[in-house]
């Protein structure tokens, strides 16, 4: 498939990234996508060469080049492992997002990506499920100081996480509400290259948030946290600046610190799979450790690779129709090996996606952090 493309221009910083990364091999060992396909085109360098061919030497996008751009998990592992990134500010995920936006702008995206977009726009989830199947379709929206946003994966697939979180709120007598038919935040659309649609979704979500009059938002999905803290201000969408926006792990850590929440001790070894969107993009590493540590104490053990060095839990290995980008389990397998190496009985995750990718492996159980906490009160 050969398609004529009028390439859009790279910014200076993205151009610098392209120039630095296109022939550099030094983060190969940290790129999770290569160890799924073993293809050179599925490495940061490979993608750099492909994007160089389009944006610097004027070649056309082809089907396989587009596929390579979408095979990236935008997890930022490459940047974390780059010893020059601190002074060079190289950002492969941003470069990939730019390329995807361009691909979408030129209408070159694959039918699968298009379907995913349609599903998100029409039904607030990328799984192709009907809106009426969501957890939030069954709730009654009320007025409350605390708004809990579950996120697409929790809302449509992992209801147990929302139930665990609501159990914690009830236990603490916190008045909380959810949004009826919770809209998506647009982050997945943004990551797929549909920025206009993403901004529209984020605006709609912001409007619904404003209407609740809440003072604190607690989210289960790291992608929503990233959107509320970074994208919404960046897109100049109106949202109360005094709103406190917390991931559930941060919220729980605050409660534990203030003495309002006390967890029963766990006796088995517990470990944590850091989240790429909470960690690498929002520097949230300590809160989940404080939560787990308050219960596990010395039974908490770090994975060999942790914090910004954990490769990827697959938070943007989106699944549609159980097929597209269905590499999450492969990513989970890498982390499962690390968990088994340290003899962990439980691995705590910070997203539904990570939980799903880590479930079903021998030797340990995977619990999202609110489930972990709800089981200890």
């Amino acid at each position: 498939m050969k398609i004529k493309v009028e390439a859009i221009k790279l910014s200076k910083s993205l151009s610098d990234t392209l120039e630095a990364c296109r022939y550099c091999f030094m983060c190969r060992q940290a790129c999770p996508s290569e160890f799924i396909s073993y293809r050179e085109s599925d490495t940061p360098r490979g993608r750099g060469i492909i994007l160089q061919s389009v944006y610097k030497t004027g070649q056309e996008y082809t089907k396989s080049k587009i596929e390579a751009v979408y095979n990236c998990f935008v997890c930022g592992s490459c940047t974390s492992w780059c010893e020059g990134a601190e002074i060079g500010h190289y950002d492969i995920p941003e470069l990939i997002k730019f390329a995807r936006r361009d691909i979408v702008k030129q209408k070159l995206m694959s039918p699968a990506v298009e379907m995913m977009c349609r599903s998100l726009v029409e039904n607030e989830n990328c799984f192709g499920q009907n809106k009426s199947e969501s957890f939030s379709s069954k709730i009654k929206e009320t007025e409350a100081d605390v708004l809990y946003l579950a996120g697409g994966e929790v809302n449509f697939r992992n209801n147990e996480i929302a139930e665990a979180m609501l159990k914690i709120f009830r236990y603490l007598n916190v008045k909380v509400t959810m949004l009826k038919d919770e809209p998506s935040c647009g982050k997945i659309l943004d990551l797929l290259g549909y920025q206009e649609e993403a901004i529209l979704k984020a605006s709609q979500l912001a409007k619904r948030i404003r209407s609740t009059g809440c003072k604190t938002i607690v989210v289960s999905d790291p992608l929503i946290l990233h959107c509320l803290r970074n994208d919404i201000p960046g897109w100049a969408i109106d949202l109360n600046k005094n709103l406190k926006i917390l991931h559930s792990s941060e919220y729980l850590a605050e409660l534990i610190k203030s003495g309002l929440l006390k967890l029963n001790p766990v006796k088995e070894k517990v470990t944590l799979a850091d989240s790429e969107f909470l960690g690498r993009y929002n520097n949230i590493y300590d809160a989940p450790r404080e939560v787990i540590g308050s219960s596990a104490g010395s039974n908490f053990a770090e994975l060999k690779w942790n914090r910004d060095k954990l490769l990827c839990t697959g938070e943007s290995a989106f699944i549609h129709d159980d097929k597209v980008f269905s590499f999450g389990k492969k990513l989970g397998e890498e982390i499962a090996i690390l968990a088994n190496d340290i003899g962990a009985g439980t691995i705590v995750t910070l997203s539904a996606a990570a939980k799903n990718n880590l479930e079903g492996f021998k030797g340990f159980k995977a619990l999202e952090i609110s489930e972990f906490v709800a089981g200890l009160i």
């Binding site: 022939y23 060469i49 061919s53 020059g84 002074i87």
Partner: protein
């Protein structure tokens, strides 16, 4: 042989290859052809960069294949022989000599699916591993048991074990633990005609020539190394380093030589020429000094390390080295890979190359001076830096580099300038007692100079090639062995 992708014959051969490895493990995708047409050699990088304004192209493979074992490779090679299709082996593709480039098209065998660790024998202290494993990931696995091959080059992040074997690679601890070729116990190799052979179970025999040594450094021209048993070690209790500034390179070279002569076992000795001390050491470690920067270090049990360090420090003091202390030595260790990351590493449009060579202690300074003189007298647009990073009882390796900040825009002129520098510098190095290369290999970059280096004995390499690979399908155009 360049195949027309639109012909049914292309489809027929593709089908045969897919029959061996499965449909998903053969790629003819343009994205892969693009990416597998560039390794770490400056020429294809420059060529790709300048493609926009020039009517130039890069040679690409017809098929990129991801086999999972020796048997599949054997069957691929038999097909390649049937149709006389060139075969180039690709590990990490991070070689700097163009050795993995499919310069005559045909098949690329990407070995990375062969990444299994078969056995760790903690009694014999050996490990058997598929050669497609990325070195760093291999080391991470060994680390879990407190073990290491002690092969730790900057390219660990990106190169495969097979790539090191094929190019006789080395790592920062080579002065104590040797180059990769010193770590090999035995190997499984697929010959160009498809036979799968195993070398003897142990290497130190008196049962004729060591077959391992035939395939080590053969750069995929004599077969494909698919499995290897390597020596492993326990990770050391401690590693200690010390940094010094010596008044000049000659003094530093003498210190290095004396450390070995005294039968100390330094794990590492790195000596930077005055110019590299000024340029790179300042940039990466922030040390601004005149003279030659040196780090040496020891590993093992703390008691042994401290004793050896004491002896090493005495030698350095006798040579009037300025002791920069342990901390700056540690800093080098911490940052030892940083030199190869952007923005520290040289990059296009700069023209640059690593003229690594090796010579006896009697000749090593002469090799350095000869190459520096070539750059300074014939190429005023270039600058020359060097360090000495792998030391033997009889001599040392020089890692010299030339850098041109503004090479010619025209790709053919740039190629001419680049190759002229290599020819002139390496001919000067050979004349002074050096060789073409110490641990990066020959590839397409230096192949033309191999007959000059070997002289009368080149016929041995030629005849070996003819015997092993009668149809000359394996990595044609490389190592000076023609097509």
């Amino acid at each position: 042989m360049k195949l027309d992708q639109s012909s049914y014959m292309f489809g027929m051969i593709l089908f045969e290859l897919q029959d061996v490895v499965g449909k998903d493990c053969v790629s003819c995708r343009d994205s892969d052809k693009e990416v597998y047409s560039i390794d770490y050699f400056w020429i294809p990088e420059m060529w790709a960069d300048r493609q926009k304004n020039n009517n130039i192209t890069r040679p690409t493979a017809d098929f990129i294949i991801h086999p999972k074992n020796a048997d599949e490779i054997s069957r691929i090679l038999k097909i390649a022989n049937n149709y006389k299709i060139p075969v180039t082996v690709w590990g990490g593709g991070s070689g700097s000599q163009g050795g993995a480039l499919p310069v005559f098209g045909g098949i690329i065998i990407d070995t990375k699916r062969m990444d299994r660790i078969f056995d760790i024998d903690q009694k014999s202290m050996t490990v058997t591993v598929g050669t497609g494993i990325i070195m760093q990931r291999f080391e991470w696995e060994l680390e879990k048991s407190g073990l290491s091959t002690m092969h730790d080059p900057a390219s660990s992040n990106c190169a495969t074990v097979g790539g090191f074997l094929a190019n006789r690679g080395t790592g920062v601890w080579s002065t104590k633990y040797g180059k990769i070729e010193d770590m090999v116990v035995n190997m499984e190799v697929v010959l160009p005609t498809g036979e799968i052979i195993n070398t003897l179970p142990v290497p130190k025999t008196a049962c004729g020539p060591d077959l391992n040594q035939i395939f080590l450094g053969s750069e995929g021209t004599l077969g494909v190394i698919t499995k290897v048993t390597l020596i492993i070690r326990h990770l050391p209790e401690v590693r200690k380093f010390r940094a010094y500034i010596f008044r000049d390179l000659a003094t530093g070279l003498r210190v290095g030589q004396r450390l070995l002569e005294k039968n100390l076992q330094p794990t590492v000795i790195r000596l930077y020429s005055e110019s590299e001390t000024k340029e790179l050491i300042k940039k990466v470690l922030g040390i601004e000094r005149e003279g030659a920067y040196m780090v040496f270090g020891f590993d093992g049990s703390e008691e042994m390390v401290d004793l050896q360090m004491k002896c090493g420090m005495e030698i350095a003091a006798e040579e009037k080295g300025e002791d920069l202390g342990e901390e700056l030595g540690k800093q080098w260790y911490k940052n030892r890979y940083k030199f190869f990351f952007p923005p520290y590493m040289f990059k296009l449009p700069q023209c640059f190359g690593t003229l690594d060579s090796v010579a006896s202690y009697t000749n090593i300074q002469g090799v350095h001076d000869a190459m520096r003189e070539v750059i300074e007298t014939r190429y005023p647009m270039a600058r020359f830096i060097a360090h000495f990073s792998h030391w033997f009882h009889w001599g040392a390796m020089i890692y010299a580099r030339f850098i041109i900040d503004n090479p010619p825009e025209d790709p053919e002129e740039a190629l001419y300038l680049h190759n002229s520098i290599w020819n002139d510098c390496l001919r000067a190095a050979i004349k002074a007692g050096g060789v073409l290369n110490e641990h990066h290999g020959i590839g397409i970059k230096l192949g033309r100079l191999v007959p000059e280096l070997y002289g009368d004995s080149f016929i041995v390499l030629k005849q070996m090639k003819k015997m092993f690979d009668p149809n000359s399908i394996m990595n044609p155009g490389k190592m000076g062995l023609g097509i």
